[in-house]
């Protein structure tokens, strides 16, 4: 299957490619949500619990979605990166935003190709990748990170992921220095400890005709202050919400039928002395002894109980 007809495109997080190429970031899927990203490089090998993967022979030129057999005989799937897979696999430099929150942020900020969006802090770049994906190919992300090391790492990742032309990373304190742009943003996203200190900067980054803002905070006290600041700066439609994902395991459940004994000693069921014999006689005849099987979507025992509050608002036309 590999070889032959694959076209050469630069791999990018905002554009699907068909085949794995040198320099790509690919996702090695081991099963059951166990996976990791790998930088594909001629001559390199990657260790997995199923054995070694040789990039030159096992990866490069293969189609994304292929099954690759490792040296010990176990096998893995190689997946094309997406912002969502990246979120599940990226190196954590901070607490990150997950896809459930990212989804509602993207929709509620009304992002689409061409949108100009500001973000702070960049953090581990989980949201950044998703934002870039959505505003590409004609939009832009201005992301501000106060931690120098993190800002640099983010820049590097964006370069590696083929999206550097869609993003500007700035290393400064957004509360003091803002986003470095004014009146050009359609939307602003804040995930910083004191979002209320950045609302003014957010407002001036947004377009004159208005736009949307979102602030993510784990604690309600942060939300309270942020809402007050938003109101003070004239934002409207201030709306705080929380979204939680419930994942269900699909299981086949067997429940035992209880043994209620026989009605009579040694002949068959003779009915109850019930007030409603027609309905009542042998109520569980077709269930006697044995088990009942059914499919069920079973919640995990312990689940995420809180990530943060999302406060959205609109900068209205003045």
């Amino acid at each position: 299957m590999p070889g032959g007809n694959y076209k050469i495109v630069t791999m990018s997080f905002v554009e699907y490619g068909d085949t794995i190429k040198d320099g790509d970031t690919a996702i090695v899927f081991l099963g059951h949500e166990s996976m990791f990203p790998v930088k594909v490089q001629h001559g390199t090998v990657t260790q997995t619990k199923y054995g070694v993967i040789r990039h030159s022979t096992d990866l490069i030129g293969k189609k994304y979605g292929s099954k690759v057999t490792c040296s010990k005989g176990g096998w893995v799937f190689i997946l094309h990166p997406t912002p969502e897979l990246w979120t599940m696999n990226l190196p954590h430099r901070t607490q990150i935003l997950y896809s459930t929150d990212i989804s509602i942020i993207t929709m509620m900020l009304e992002l689409k190709p061409g949108s100009i969006v500001c973000e702070s802090g960049t953090g581990s770049g989980s949201l950044s990748h998703a934002l870039i994906r959505t505003v590409a190919p004609t939009g832009h992300l201005y992301t501000v990170e106060f931690h120098q090391q993190r800002a640099e790492k983010a820049r590097e990742e964006f370069r590696e992921h083929g999206v550097e032309h869609l993003v500007t990373v700035t290393n400064q304190d957004v509360c003091k220095n803002g986003f470095g742009v004014s009146n050009i943003a359609d939307a602003v996203f804040l995930d910083i400890p004191s979002p209320w200190e950045a609302i003014g900067h957010a407002k001036s980054a947004l377009k004159a005709e208005g736009g949307r803002i979102c602030s993510f905070s784990p604690c309600i006290e942060q939300v309270q202050r942020t809402c007050l600041a938003m109101e003070e700066y004239g934002f409207t439609e201030i709306n705080t919400l929380e979204i939680l994902l419930r994942v269900y395991n699909v299981r086949t459940i067997s429940l035992q039928i209880p043994d209620l004994g026989k009605a009579a000693e040694d002949n068959s069921s003779s009915g109850f002395d019930s007030s409603n014999p027609s309905q009542q006689s042998s109520p569980c005849a077709n269930l006697q002894q044995g088990t009942v099987q059914f499919k069920s979507g079973v919640p995990l025992r312990e689940v995420v109980g809180h990530t943060g509050y999302l406060t959205f608002a609109t900068k209205s036309l003045v």
Binding site: L30, G31, S34, P113, P137, K207, E209, E231, N239, R246
Partner: protein
Amino acid sequence: MEGGPGPRIREGDCAVLKRGDVFKAVSVLRRRKIIFEKQWFYLDNAIGHIYGTTFEVTNGGNLQPKQEVEETTTETKEAGTDNRNIVDDGKSQKLTHDDIKALKDKGIKGQEIVQQLIENSTTFRDKTEFAQDKYIKKKKKKYEAIITIVKPSTRILSTMYYAREPGKINHLRYDTLAQMLTLGNIHAGTKMIVMETCAGLVLGAVMERMGGYGSIIQMYPGGGPVRAATSCFGFPKAFFDNLHEFPLSKVQSLLCGTFSAEPEEIPLLEEESNGLSEEKQQETEEEPAAETTMEMNPAEEQDTMDIGAEEVEFKENKEKENKENVREKQIKQWERRKKLKEAAALLREKNADGLIVASKFHPTPLLLSLLEFVAPSRPFVVYCQYKEPLLDCYTKLRERGGVINLKLSESWLRNYQVLPDRSHPKLTMSGGGGYLLSGITVILEQGRNPEVLKVEEPSSKRCKLQDLPC
């Protein structure tokens, strides 16, 4: 347009009226009476203003831009800490109905009336803040007539549909739709397959996220695709150039290579109605008990509103049309066939970048067939209002193979009231927003599927990962 003034409301636009949390999609047309939240008015005066402008309805149903944009609550600083002293004797409001009517007749604006009601309530100051808020909200709703005109978006339209006509979108809650767009990695430049019976809302959301880049093949049941909600987005015409449609009823024949778009089949298609009337029919079927009518489809709105004025013209043109009709029909048929062929060709490539399903149908047969058209290493997402069909779908997909990272999920949404000293989750919430099954395609190999099935089913006793990576 960066930094400049925002886009202006033009005649013919698709716009959204907003009052508080309530939205309504309308066509901006002159001399057209709009009824919204029990107020009637004309949009004529709104034309030329910037989107986002707030208007007050004045005498004669005219819209007048509001000077101070303040959707803030009428603030009252004094509040009782409890209601121990309140004895409800029905005499707390000193203004009579006649008084209020007199105020209105004098042209006093709603906000002013509410303020007067507050001042003339003997118990207002003793009410708790919570009760005060409730009171103000109730009165404002009754006496203030303020609307904002905004540009449509997925956020607004999905919120609007869920609030007003959930039956038309299979109760797909807006946050669930948001998950679908993200899980489906919808973005510019992709080739998406969309199968929905959500009045075209999901299609519109996908189109918005693709921004006119890439292509979409909409699979449709019955006589034609339903796009009532899609049309509310007000997309530029160019967005529709790469929107294709393909009938569900041809999927099997396409898959086994017997598909043909040639004339002998067309009559079958023709017997069924065209897109528009089919649309109406479907909607009636779905929501027979709909309480409120909405102007979802600007075209429909026009039809019903202006029947008197347009009927005359229509009759005059009838004969001429009859002749033209035959020729036109032939052209249309030819065009339709061409489009059908194009869509079939796109599907045949089996390299779609994703599949989005949100329908009233059982998802299993849809998934099992439509996944055939999707390239490997691409996401798919299926919405269903109920959990049970997705349990079945999950099982059948495991049996089929060629999919990994299957996840059945639901999202919980909680809205909050955040006010000084009065913050808490909203007192009512949505009971459910539906369920999603998502996954990623991989290259389907032969023969290993039953094994895969056994492995994926999670078990509390499993301590380590098995060797099979599905």
